[in-house]
Symmetry: C2
DNA sequence: CTGTTAGCGCATTCAC
DNA sequence: GTGAATGCGCTAACAG
C-alpha cells in the first residue's frame, strides 16, 4: 500500500495524501474525508527508508557519557549505537561522543557545555550527576532538542525515551542468587563501594532495595549485612575488610552492586581467599575474566548493546516523524544472568 | 558514499560502477581498474533499502514448523519473523506457514510436500524428523532454493544459516542450577519425557550431555539419576512416578529437558507435592505460569523471537545479495536464565 | 487549497 | 562496452 495507491483510491493527488498523513498544510474537509475513509481500511504504513531518502535530512547525534573504556559497559552501548547506525545507514547520521570522568563533576560540566555549544539534532544522555544532568536537560528543552536517557533517569526531564533495566528487579534476582549460593546457616554481605561523587547512586539504590525486599519475604534467612569498602585511597580499609572476612568464615557470599565485582574478586584472590561466592553486575571484560576464573559466580547483566541500539532507533523515529514521546519506559530492557558455563 | 560519487571520482558512468559492483556484464579492463582504485579506498556500502526499492523484487518465504500454539515456542519465533518483516517492510515479503504435527511423521511429510509444490523463494525450516528434513533439504538444493534452520540442524544440508542456542551449554548451565538448588546430600533426577516419534532428540540429547559433563567435573556430588515419564497414555506410569518421589524424599530437584516442565510441575502440585525444585526449558506461557506460582524454580530460555528475526534477516540478505552462506553458526543465540523475580 | 514535478540512491533498459 | 534515461515511494517546492 503506497501513497500513490491511496491517492488513486481516494481520487486526490499523492501530494494531498502526503499533506494529510503528515498534517503539514491546510487541506479541505472534503479531501481529508475522502482520504481518511480510504486510510481507515487500508492500513498504510509509511516506508521510513524511502521517506528518509527523499527527505535527505542529515542528523547529528550527540552522546554524553562516562569515559568509554574498551570492554566496559559504555563500550558495549557504543557497539549498539554503531549497529543502529549501520542498520539505518540510509539515513545520514553522524554521532559525536562527549565523554567525561564520572568521578569528576567539573569534567562533566565541561562535557555538557561542549555539547550545548555543538549544534546537534538529538542527544543520548548517560548521566551520572543529577543536578548537572537535569540542568542540561532543561537547556535542551529550551532548544527543543530531543534526548533519551540510557542507564539512568532523573525526574523533571522530558526525555523521548529511557533505556535501562529494571534495577529493582535486578536487585531481587540478585537476592535469589545469593540466597541459593549461601547455605541456610551462612551469612551474606553486600559490599558497598565507596566512591567519590554521587555516581550510580540511583541504580545501586534501586538494586539494594530489591535485594532487601527479596530477603524480607524470605523466611528463615538472616538479612544481609553491609560493608563499605574503599578501593581507592586508604589501604587499611582494604586490609580491614580482609581481616573481617577472615574472622567471619560464615560469610560465604558477597554481593557487589555495581560493575566492580572484579575488584573485589581480585582482592580476595590476592589474599588467598577462595572459599567465598561473589555475585556482581555487568558483563565487562574484567568481570567476564573473573567468571572464567571462577572467582565470580554470577553476573547480572543488562543488555547494553540493545540499550544503545534502541536509543538511537528511538531518536531516529522521533527526528523523522516526531513520533509520540513515549517518555515513560520504552519496554524496559531485561536482566540476564550470566554464569561461567555460558561462556 | 554513493554509486554516483564513485562514478564521478573514477570518471565513468554510474551504470558501469553498478556493473562492476555486481559483476554483471563485461566491463573493459580500464574502466574496472579505475573504479576499483576508487573503491579500494572509498569503503562504499550498498544501501540495501534503496537497492530493494529499485529492484522491486518480491519474495515469498515459506516457514515449515511444528504446529504453532499461542504462547508456545514457535509462537514466539513467529513473532520474531513478523518483526523482521516489519523492519524490512520496504522489501516486499510474503510469509507462508506450513505447520505439521511434530508427533506425526505423515503430517510432516504432507507439509513438506505442500511446501515443495508451492513456489517460494526461500525457506525457514523448523525440523523435527531427521530423515524427512534431510530429504526436504536435498529437494530444495536441487531447486537452489536457500533455507535456514531454526532450533535444530541436521548434517549434510547446505543451509544458509542456522539459528539456535548452544544446547550443550544449556545443559551445563542447567547442571549448575540443579547443583545449586540441591543440598549436598540431596539427590537430583532428570526426567525424560517419553514421546512418540524422535522429536527433539538432538536438542535434548545435547542438553543431557552438557548436564552430565557438568556433574562429571563436579566433585562430591552424586550423578543425577533418570526417570522416564510417559505423560500421555499409561496412567500407572504417572502414579509410579509419584510413588517413587514420595518414597525418595531426598530427591529434591528435578530437571526437565524440554519445554514440558509445566506438565511435571502440575503433576506434582495436583498430588500435593510442593517440596521439590523444578528446572525446565523455554518460556512458554504455561511454564511462565508455573514460574509465577513458584512450582518451577528456573527456566532456561533460548531467544526464539531473536531466532525468528535473524532467520528472516539472513534470508533477505541472501536473496538480495547472495551474501556468503555462513552455513556454520550465525553467532549462536545465547541462553537465558529466567526466575520468578524477573517477571 | 491542490496537482504537478523533480530528485533522493539504485538497478535496469535502451540507445549509442 | 558504456552512458543516459527511467522508475521504485516519498517529500518539497512551485505553479496554479
Amino acid at each position: 500500500m503506497t501513497i500513490k495507491q491511496i491517492s488513486e483510491l481516494s481520487g486526490v493527488s499523492p501530494g494531498t495524501v502526503d499533506r494529510i498523513l503528515h498534517n503539514r498544510d491546510k487541506v479541505s474537509k472534503e479531501a481529508r474525508a475522502k482520504v481518511e475513509a480510504v486510510l481507515a481500511k487500508a492500513d498504510y504504513r509509511c516506508n521510513i527508508h524511502t521517506s528518509a531518502l527523499s527527505l535527505r535530512k542529515s542528523f547529528s547525534i550527540a552522546v554524553v557519557c562516562p569515559t568509554i573504556i574498551k570492554g566496559d559497559y559504555w563500550h558495549s552501548i557504543r557497539a549498539g549505537i554503531d549497529k543502529a547506525q549501520e542498520e539505518y545507514s540510509d539515513i545520514e547520521l553522524s554521532v559525536q561522543y562527549f565523554e567525561y570522568d564520572q568521578y569528576d563533576t567539573e569534567s562533566c560540566k565541561r562535557a555538557f557545555n561542549q555539547l550545548l555549544d555543538s549544534s546537534c539534532s538529538a542527544v543520548i544522555i548517560g548521566g551520572t550527576f543529577e543536578e548537572e544532568t537535569v540542568s542540561l536537560c532543561s537547556s535542551l528543552d529550551k532548544k527543543s532538542t530531543p534526548y533519551v536517557f540510557i542507564d539512568t533517569r532523573f525526574d523533571g526531564c522530558h526525555q523521548v525515551g529511557h533505556f535501562t533495566a529494571d534495577q529493582y528487579k535486578c536487585g531481587k534476582v540478585m537476592g535469589k542468587l545469593l540466597d541459593l549460593l549461601a547455605l541456610a546457616e551462612e551469612r551474606i554481605c553486600v559490599i558497598r563501594l565507596a566512591r567519590t561523587g554521587s555516581s550510580h547512586s540511583f541504580n545501586t539504590g534501586e538494586r539494594l532495595k530489591g535485594l532487601q525486599d527479596y530477603f524480607s519475604s524470605c523466611a528463615g534467612r538472616k538479612f544481609p549485612e553491609e560493608f563499605t569498602l574503599n578501593l581507592s585511597s586508604q589501604e587499611n580499609n582494604k586490609e580491614q575488610f580482609i581481616e573481617w572476612l577472615r574472622g567471619n568464615r560464615d560469610i560465604s557470599t558477597l554481593a557487589v552492586l555495581n560493575s566492580k565485582g572484579h575488584s573485589v574478586a581480585d582482592l580476595l584472590r590476592s589474599n588467598g581467599i577462595s572459599d567465598r561466592h561473589i555475585v556482581g553486575f555487568d558483563a565487562t571484560d574484567e568481570n567476564i575474566r573473573c567468571l572464567h576464573e571462577g572467582t565470580i559466580s554470577f553476573l547480572l547483566c543488562q543488555h547494553p548493546e540493545q540499550q544503545g541500539f534502541e536509543s538511537l532507533q528511538r531518536l531516529i523515529a522521533y527526528l523523522l516523524y516526531r513520533s509520540p514521546a513515549n517518555s515513560g519506559d520504552t519496554g524496559p530492557v531485561g536482566v540476564e544472568i550470566l554464569t561461567k558455563e555460558m561462556l
